[in-house]
Amino acid sequence: MQPQVAGSATETSITGGVGKATSRTRRSNGRGWSYNLTSWLGLVPFLLFCLLFEVLPAIIIIQGSFTENNTGKFTLNNFQRMLSLPSNVHAFGTSLSISIVTALIGGIVGGIAAYGVYALRISWLRNFLIGFSSIAANFAGVPLAFAFVATLGVTGFVTVAIHNLFHVDLYGVGFSLYQFWGLVIVYVYFQLPLMILVTLPALNALRPEWHEAATNLGASNFTYWRRVALPILLPSLIAATMLLFANAFGAYATAVALAQDSINLVPILISYVVNGNVTVDFGLGNALAVGMIVLLLIALSLYTAMLRRVNVWQGR
């Protein structure tokens, strides 16, 4: 019985191998197409779903940004209107600066903290910190906004505590949670744990041998970091910062719940333009959306370019 099973298994694996080999040679002639076709058929449900709900919405937005609202003719008018109104340009400026500032704070502080987590010798504590980062990175949007209202709002817990302990009135000295820097504080809350999660794998790829080799050649700890570790890590760190940028740039719910009327961001502007109480202007909304897509594509192509470098270096 046993030899029989083993025999049949080998047989199949051999025929399997042969089948693969023949299918490879067949690709040049007609029958290879049928093999390919059945393979692609298995992807049809997924590809159809992506076409309908992912690719077509994007195409519609791009097409719509070049189309006049009423006539349906080709036009650059939507982009002209977008760029001629100072509040639109201002919204892009604010969105960009908030994304860059929070990506940099998150990238630098989170990057150092990631190393701290990586260097921890106590494994349960490390796992706890990673787990907690996962939770915090997922805690965003409306609940996060109200958590910060409860913390740093006018009557928030920390605001009151600082007033009682140090006799400093935060709102009296010009701080406001509902302005630019308040939003920065809230965004950093989800950027920091995200940076830790994204950077840890890159740190795990650092080989202890490299440090030993550098030390053997007379390098100090500082030299090792400056000449070996940081250059190797830099692409990963830049890639992670690009992700943080994209993360903040697309954020909508947090900003709406916290400061809908007092801060001018592109996502908020889009929702006003297409869902406004007074007028609906899909042409302008599409142009704004295309502006967002272009900026995000730049960040993401930097991200993938950096990842490719990481792969070269770390042989992944």
């Binding site: 997924f46 805690f139 009557t155 999660l197 795990n204 650092l206 993360n247 697309g250 909508y252 995000l296």
Partner: protein, 308 residues
Amino acid sequence: MQTGSSNIAGRAIADEYTRPKGKDRSRRGGFGLDRVAVIVVMLYLLIPLGATLVFGLGGGGGISTFQRIFSDADFSQTLLTSLELAIGTTLLAIVLVTPTAYWVQLRLPRARPLLDFLTLIPFAVPAIVLSVGFLEEFSGTSGPLINTLSLGLVPFMSNTLNIINTGPLLVCAYVIIALPFVYRPIDNSLRAINTTVLTEAAYSLGSGWWRAFLTIILPNIWPGVISAALLVFSTVMGEFTIASLFNIYTFPIYLNDTGQNDPYKAALLSFLSFILTLLCVLGIILLVRGRRGGSAQQGSQVDIAGAR
């Protein structure tokens, strides 16, 4: 539940818990700055949580605020809506992505770049942009280009099924948002096992494709599937952006409406949201950890989901 965490966060978390692990490495003590950074970051993450609970309980009459929340009809109704959407999205996303990822791994490795590309698009098309695209696509006024490209499905869905601003369409949008952190953990798990050998072994013992998939492959990639499912669930429970543009009254929208008037109630609701996120991520950690035994030492990774 985050009210909309970003799919970027979701993918990072899924990765953390499902990526194949390398060998452990020895570590040296740092120069102190890194420890300080860890402590600062953890305080930054913990203080708002504690403050929210204290603020919520202290300001509006303590525990009775909870009673006010639970007796609110809108609370239970919106929570139910969000639960239905979350369960629907989770099921659809898993059913759509898992067989596809397996199929690509087994039969069509050449399609992998295409899948990587399709699951990266949601990073470049944020939720607010996607929902605008949906509103235009399914408003019933789509042009000939879209009608042709969609093989006539768009006019059928928007005119005959009248799908715009309905729950099913919202679920479809959520599946797209969730793609980056559904595909990655499942793909990671598939790569970690020897898919081809397992499948050939199953074939040789007389099993068909579906049977091999359901009884051999699925149990082996269960941790990845569970991670993906919990991340989707947590994200949809908190998603605000698309629901608000679709005018569907979900829990995060209720939370936003409430919070603009009653910060104490909002604080407690936010804390409840946090507990739900906590449970989902804990579920990932415990289930995935349990499966991995000793090798889980390096920590697991969850993709970063979420609606921001």
